[in-house]
């Protein structure tokens, strides 16, 4: 049986529905991300789980018990807020020890455990500093230690990395994931950063306007997005128009810019307009005159790869090519692109 279950969870603000019929089962120790654009109801969902908002409809079950109407101070979940919400008038140690104090842990043990938690997030030298005297990254770690020290059954993270700079964010992703696996705490991360979700989660919930669009593992989500929204939101992609041509035993034959491609396992009505998606890195770009001709509009060097924006008869495309040490294409140059059949994802909806 799953550890944390959301059953057709609804939240309404007046006549605006922020979360619509969310169903989700989370296993013990799992790392789940709620991913979606701003305003799609991620924070609202998290706050309902934490008990800071009451669901309009639906239930929340923790370890088989209905906690939908348990007040937040009786749920005992650990939560890291987007603003960190540290107590400005307490030192790092006092911040971390607060939850233990509320659980009537004795002073000596409380301090010892708070220091251990700070050490776990590599902040032991900053134990006596006030939040104001710490950097964003350090505050973020105090908030994490404060949430973890109470040994919560579920850890809730509301965009905990969004206030950090790019480099620190990448380091913290790894650290956070390792720490979570170490402790084995069930974790729900709210983020609008698809890279963050992909790199940290066991499973990802993609949300749009309060509803779940897809629930899948990172790889599955990336390779087999269910619709254009997911495919566009998770990773960069190129959406290309195509026309259904014929079906046979091999699958559906689809015409893309004069080339016939086969989509195994599909059967499509002839002449129908389709949208296919090809990820930027799935293109192969070369000078050999085979495939589709493109003209380079912009070339950006990213270190490990090149990012090109090219124009073609299929429209403008984004293409990434690994950096193999050569100079790459220049603006205005022509080239040819190809892709393998399994690089193509089909969406039956028109674009």
């Amino acid at each position: 049986m799953s550890f944390l279950t959301l059953e057709s969870l609804n939240k309404q603000f007046g006549d605006f529905t922020a979360v619509k019929g969310l169903d989700l089962s989370i296993e013990k120790g799992e790392f789940i991300s709620l991913l979606g654009p701003s305003g799609c109801g991620k924070t609202t969902t998290l706050q309902m789980i934490a008990g800071l908002l009451t669901p309009t409809n639906g239930r929340i079950l923790l370890d088989g018990k209905d906690i939908s109407h348990t007040p937040p101070n009786k749920r005992g979940l650990g939560i890291v807020f987007q603003s960190y919400a540290l107590f400005p008038h307490m030192t790092a140690t006092e911040n971390v020890a607060f939850g233990l104090e509320m659980r009537s842990v004795g002073k000596a043990e409380r301090l010892e455990r708070a220091r251990a938690a700070l050490k776990q997030v590599k902040l032991d030298q900053f134990a006596d500093r006030y939040p104001k005297q710490m950097s964003g990254g350090q505050r973020q770690r105090v908030a994490l230690a404060r949430a973890l020290v109470i040994e919560p059954p579920v850890l809730l993270l509301d965009e905990p990395l969004s206030n950090l700079d790019a480099k620190l964010r990448e380091d913290m992703r790894m650290e956070l994931r390792l720490l979570q696996q170490d402790i084995g705490v069930t974790t729900i991360l709210v983020t609008h950063d698809q890279e963050e979700a992909l790199s940290m989660s066991d499973r990802i919930v993609v949300m749009k306007e309060g509803q779940m669009e897809q629930l899948a593992s990172p790889l599955e989500l990336y390779e087999h997005p269910r619709n254009t929204f997911v495919s566009d939101f998770v990773g960069k992609t190129n959406l290309i128009r195509a026309t259904a041509h014929a079906n046979d035993a091999a699958g559906a034959h689809v015409l893309v810019d004069g080339e016939m491609i086969t989509l195994p396992g599909h059967s499509l009505e002839e002449g129908r307009d389709l949208t296919i998606s090809i990820r930027p890195e799935k293109f192969h770009m070369s000078d050999d005159a085979s495939g589709h001709e493109v003209e380079v509009r912009a070339a950006i060097f990213l270190g490990s790869s090149w990012l090109y924006r090219v124009s073609s008869k299929m429209g403008d495309l984004f293409i990434t090519q690994p950096n193999n040490g050569s100079a790459g294409y220049k603006k205005g140059q022509s080239a040819y692109v190809r892709w393998s059949q399994d690089a193509v994802t089909l969406f039956e909806e028109g674009k």
Binding site: F81, S83, G99, R146
Partner: protein
């Protein structure tokens, strides 16, 4: 706070230039009369000959050595302290409730709280005088409720002055605490709740300490305004319940001993500054690390 956004010559001087007009205004309108008051306090006074041309500290020695003045100073600062404490006790819950209200109630109650500031202190105090007087509303109510036939008058009493001053000054406390409450991250209260704190514990351990800067600065305002208040003590306290400000006034206008009046005024100023500065330093030392 101290980072220099623009480098280059003249950049450092800019703040001085910009505050210059204010400083000149301040010196001309406040500094000059104060200086003249101070100089006046160093002359002696003769009941037949008037103000003398000599320079002496006799006035200071007289005031500092006279039990009559000790009592007045003691009463003034006792009053200031009491009014401050009561203003905190009333203003803090009021500001908290206010900060929890949502519009339109918030605007309505803010207006109710601040409304008294729109009416002249003298008018408000005269209102209290009518209320407190021997045949005022207070007496009539007490008699109607059967608390005896004696008129209950709070005129010329310490209690009366305290009540009237609290009424006059509590809006300052509310504004000050309210401003501090506005700055609190509401999520820090949520965080306390999720960590297992009850609502009351959250209020006591998280909200109140963060509102402390507002309470302390409100206290300074109320204390200083009470210690130097004139209109309310003059009307409610009168001659029988003198405070420093009314005592100085009497020296000027009744006894015509201007130098002595000036001395009292200067001593009030010095005492007020000493108390407020040391209090402020205490506060700064306590909170410098914690709040911006």
């Amino acid at each position: 706070m101290s980072d220099q956004a623009h480098a280059g010559p003249g950049a450092k001087a800019a703040p001085y230039w910009m505050t210059g007009p204010g400083v000149i205004f301040f010196i001309a309108l406040l500094g000059a009369p104060m200086m003249m008051t101070f100089l006046l306090s160093l002359h002696s006074y003769d009941f037949t000959l008037g103000i003398q041309d000599d320079w002496t500290l006799a006035n200071y020695i007289e005031v500092l050595g006279d039990p009559y003045f000790h009592k007045i100073f003691g009463r003034t600062f006792g009053l200031a302290l009491l009014v401050t404490v009561i203003c905190v006790a009333i203003g803090a819950p009021e500001a908290y409730v206010l900060s929890r209200l949502s519009n339109p109630w918030k605007s309505v109650f803010l207006l109710v709280v601040l409304g008294p500031l729109l009416i002249s202190v003298v008018v408000r105090t005269l209102g209290w005088a009518l209320f407190f007087g021997g045949n005022g509303v207070l007496t009539m109510t007490a008699q109607a409720l059967g608390f005896g036939e004696e008129p209950v008058s709070l005129m010329f009493t310490f209690t009366g002055m305290t009540i009237a001053l609290v009424h006059v000054l509590v809006p300052f406390m509310v504004i000050s605490i309210w401003a501090a409450l506005q700055k609190i991250d509401p999520q820090s209260e949520d965080a306390a709740l999720t960590l297992g704190a009850s609502k009351f514990t959250t209020l006591r351990r998280i909200t109140l300490p963060q509102a402390m800067p507002g309470i302390l600065s409100g206290s300074i305002i109320v204390f200083a305004l009470t210690a130097s208040a004139f209109a309310t003590p003059a009307i409610i306290g009168g001659r029988r319940m003198k405070v420093v400000a009314t005592a100085a006034y009497d020296e000027y206008l009744s006894t015509l001993n201007w130098p002595l009046g000036a001395t009292i005024a200067i001593l009030l100023l010095v005492a007020n500054i000493a108390i407020i500065v040391s209090y402020n330093q205490l506060v700064e030392r306590r909170f410098a690390k914690v709040f911006e």
